[in-house]
């Protein structure tokens, strides 16, 4: 078996070539992101026109309104809803291209600032959940990954259950336990960090289960790698092995999955925001879809797509920092 040369291996120093490469990478990501946004906007535009229900209802105070004929005609003209679909499409895309999201049908306010404030609230929720889920998974795996069979079984059992619990049920159980019975936490989102605890727990626990499962597996794999033996042969302590070597390897798949996990958190946010009466994109989306408030749905879809893209890029970057091998593979 032969694998080696003494030929100098490529140094990981920043040369003009590597910098150019990262620029190219950035450009590709930006281009790809723009494409995805355009596609999302297009899909949403046409999908929402397929939905039964007249957008005019949303504008006229919700479905079931008994507006006059003049009012209806007026609104159609005002919002360009009397134009052919394809014209509407290009008009809409033209506006979106310059980040003009229009006015909400139902709320009569400019969509962009409104949705942005909702985004902030959802970001706080989801990012906090991501962090908590991460810490929880790390803590659980590290604490139970030792030699004890029992603790390992308990750890993986907990993860398994956590990962299989529907959000809304978990929310009810948490409210009953932590709020109604123990009176520790408010059952609704109140200003300040206390109000964030239950929503974040609800969102984070199932994810903790998933990340934990993944990490436990990669942790077990990492333990079998020869470099662990080599670290032990150097006199490294058990915790030294765990923290200095194994942990990073265990975290890798978790990191690359974080982009996806974030996407699932956005979905979970719909349920959590509804239950805990938190403002946010999820609830906005749910009600906007219900009343066919097209500009809001479009904006939320685009915004969450954008966030998703950014988070994915961010996890890629973190991945590259933690694991330099990614760069090599990616550039091949």
């Amino acid at each position: 078996m032969t694998v080696s040369t003494d030929a100098p291996a490529v140094a990981s120093v920043s040369t003009p070539a590597t910098r150019l490469r990262s620029l190219g990478w950035v450009a590709r990501r930006v281009g790809g992101g723009a494409f995805v946004l355009w596609a999302v906007a297009t899909v949403i535009f046409f999908a929402l026109r397929l939905i039964p229900g007249d957008p005019v209802d949303a504008i006229l105070g919700g479905p079931g309104s008994q507006a006059s004929a003049e009012a209806v005609a007026q609104i159609r003209a005002d919002y360009g809803l009397d134009q052919p679909l394809i014209v509407q499409y290009f008009l809409a895309m033209g506006k979106l291209a310059v980040a003009d999201f229009g006015t909400s049908y139902a709320l009569k306010v400019a969509v962009a600032p409104y949705v942005l404030t909702q985004l902030w609230s959802t970001l706080v929720l989801t990012l906090a959940s991501l962090v908590v889920a991460w810490l929880g998974a790390l803590g659980l795996t590290l604490a139970t990954s030792g030699r004890g069979r029992v603790s390992r079984a308990v750890g993986s059992g907990l993860e398994l259950l956590a990962a299989a619990v529907p959000h809304f049920w978990l929310a009810s159980l948490l409210i009953i336990l932590l709020s109604n019975t123990l009176h520790w936490l408010p059952p609704i989102s109140v200003p300040g960090p206390l109000g964030l605890v239950l929503p974040v727990l609800t969102l984070a626990l199932p994810l903790t289960g998933f990340l934990g499962q993944v990490m436990r597996e990669s942790l077990a794999n990492a333990y079998e790698q020869p470099f662990v033996l080599s670290a032990r042969a150097r006199g490294e302590s058990e915790w030294g092995v765990r923290l200095r070597h194994v942990l990073r390897h265990a975290a890798l798949p978790g990191i690359s999955l974080s982009g996806w996990a974030f996407g699932s958190l956005l979905s979970g946010a719909v349920v959590v925001e509804t239950i805990f009466a938190r403002p946010g994109l999820g609830r906005t989306l749910l009600s906007a879809v219900t009343i066919r408030d097209i500009p809001v749905v479009t904006a939320v879809a685009l915004l969450s797509a954008l966030t998703f893209i950014i988070v994915t890029v961010a996890t890629d970057v973190v991945d590259r920092i933690v694991d330099p091998r990614v760069t090599e593979v990616a550039s091949r």
Partner: protein, 518 residues
């Protein structure tokens, strides 16, 4: 509640509503119940109702109707200012009615209420005259509704988005902040002096402020009341009300909404309910009483009337709605639905006796949905296949507009028995331009039409009463509706809240008299 002690001023009350968050705080725009609930805190109407259902003065002190019923003169209070300083006067009233009628406002409820008003004239600063296209016996009731409340004309001049955010009225509270999806902050109007005649005190409200929170999930709402994070909740669920009965610190206020009772409409516009025998068979086949008892934990009373129990004109006819599955089967046999397929459903000419029942998950509470499931089960015993379709609000309306339903339950809140005209006059089958129509039973009966029109133009109370009684008997005897119970409107509130009541016209809460004891 009995005020336990001297009322104290101050404090912020947290109110949690389960109704949808309004898109616009100005109830002229659109005009739905959630808007009515909140706008009662900062907007006022020309008249109100007392707990006996009598119209009482509010912003208007007096009114007269001309002999032909076509001209109405209102005398207005001359000492009231809007919270932006604009004086309340005849011009303000004129501006409001015009605002309602302006297509740009896109009003629907308020627009209907003032539909017969042709001309408005500011006769003097405190005198306004309305000229009607036809007599309207419901005019005063219409004016008592929050959707026809009076706003500052100066404020109405602003663009709609701004007015939606911060409408300006004469009410006891002022809208100061609105965090979307979260809450509206209402602060005390220090200069308030226009309490309705049935209020407990005069002058400014006792509370410093109200935080009006939107908590859509019923379980969370109740949990928040239990934990003390909120003081008052609306849309309390029957089981919560029942368990709250055992909680010393929580009290209940039951304030049924006016207008129509909750009922199931039988779409007579298409088969199989175009046959009165099938309609009767359906009504005979279901017994909703045990379900109402168990599902509503005794918080809802069975209604045998199309109208809400708060409507004096309502006629209760328990005899019409008796349950008799055997009679139902006979009726179906007579109507030709006499074969039974392998699934136990009746068929006629190879077609199954199938009923589509769209349910709006936004409007029907879980207990009601369960009740429909029970109806589905007992109708099945007779041979009806009831297909329940829970859908979101827009799709639900979609199903109605396209006539894809046989059964439907649609709440309708309006002050006064005139709601019958809206719900059962054949004119209401013609869809509004937006697609909406209120006559979901698709009841088309010239005799009924005539009765309802006459009633709406008759100002004599007892004569009107009789006309409405006759109209109701046509509706129930034709088996077009299955009344269930009053539109539920239960509030649960902490015992620390004193002096809280619902304002009679549409049973919206009012916190003008309320105060927090500690």
């Amino acid at each position: 509640t009995e005020p336990a002690a001297e009322p104290v001023d101050g404090g912020t009350l947290v109110y949690a509503t389960g109704d949808a968050e309004p898109g616009c705080l100005d109830p002229h725009v659109g005009g739905n119940y959630p808007q009515g609930l909140i706008s009662t805190q900062y907007l006022e109407s020309l008249v109100s109702k007392d707990s006996d259902g009598e119209i009482i003065p509010w912003l208007a002190t007096d009114w007269t109707e001309s002999e032909d019923g076509l001209t109405w003169d209102f005398t207005l209070r001359d000492d009231v200012n809007f919270t932006d300083g604009t004086p309340f006067d005849a011009e303000a009233v004129k501006a409001n009615i015009e605002h309602l009628k302006d297509p740009d406002t896109a009003s629907s409820t308020g627009y209907l209420a003032v539909g017969k008003i042709d001309g408005i004239e500011a006769v003097a600063a405190d005198q306004v005259r309305f000229t009607l296209s036809a007599p309207d016996s419901a005019l005063l009731e219409s004016f008592s509704q929050p959707w026809v409340s009076i706003q500052s004309p100066t404020a109405l001049e602003r663009d709609q988005a701004t007015n939606c955010e911060s409408p300006v009225g004469t009410g006891p509270f002022i809208v100061t902040d609105w965090v979307k999806q979260q809450s509206v902050t209402l602060e005390r109007n220090e200069d308030y002096n226009s309490a309705p005649a049935d209020a407990e005190h005069t002058g400014a409200a006792r509370l410093d402020a109200i935080e009006w929170r939107f908590i859509p999930d019923a379980a969370t709402r109740y949990a928040a009341l239990q934990s003390g994070d909120v003081d008052v909740i609306d849309n309390a669920q029957p089981n919560n009300i029942s368990s709250a009965a055992d909680v010393a610190t929580i009290e209940e206020l039951d304030a049924p909404r006016p207008g129509a009772a909750n009922r199931i409409e039988l779409n007579s516009g298409k088969a199989p309910f175009d046959d009165i025998r099938v309609r009767e068979a359906f009504i005979r086949s279901v017994d909703v009483n045990p379900g109402i008892d168990s599902l509503f934990f005794g918080t809802a009373e069975r209604s045998y009337s199309v109208l809400s129990s708060v409507e004096g004109a309502g006629i209760s006819t328990p005899d019409v709605f008796t349950t008799d599955p055997e009679a139902a089967k006979t009726l179906l046999d007579e109507a030709g639905w006499d074969t039974i397929d392998s699934d136990g459903y009746r068929t006629k000419d190879g077609e199954r006796l199938s009923l589509t029942f769209p349910i709006s998950t936004n409007q029907s509470i879980p207990a009601e949905q369960s009740l429909f499931e029970q109806i589905q089960a007992s109708a099945k015993d007779v041979g009806f296949e009831v297909i329940l379709q829970p859908t979101d609000l827009s799709s639900w309306y979609g199903a109605l507009f396209t006539n894809e339903y046989n059964l439907v339950s649609a709440p309708y809140t309006k002050v006064g028995a005139d709601v019958l005209r809206i719900l059962y006059h054949s004119d209401s089958i013609i869809p509004a331009p937006s697609g909406y129509y209120a006559n979901l039973a698709q009841l088309s009966d010239p005799t009924l039409d005539a009765l309802l029109t006459t009633a709406s133009e008759t100002s004599d109370a007892s004569e009107r009463q009789e006309l409405y009684a006759e109209a109701q008997s046509i509706i129930v005897d034709g088996f077009y509706v299955l009344p269930l119970y009053d539109q539920q409107n239960h509030y649960l509130y902490s015992t620390s809240v004193e002096g809280f009541r619902a304002l009679p016209p549409v049973a919206a809460p009012t916190f003008y008299d309320a105060w927090l004891s500690n």
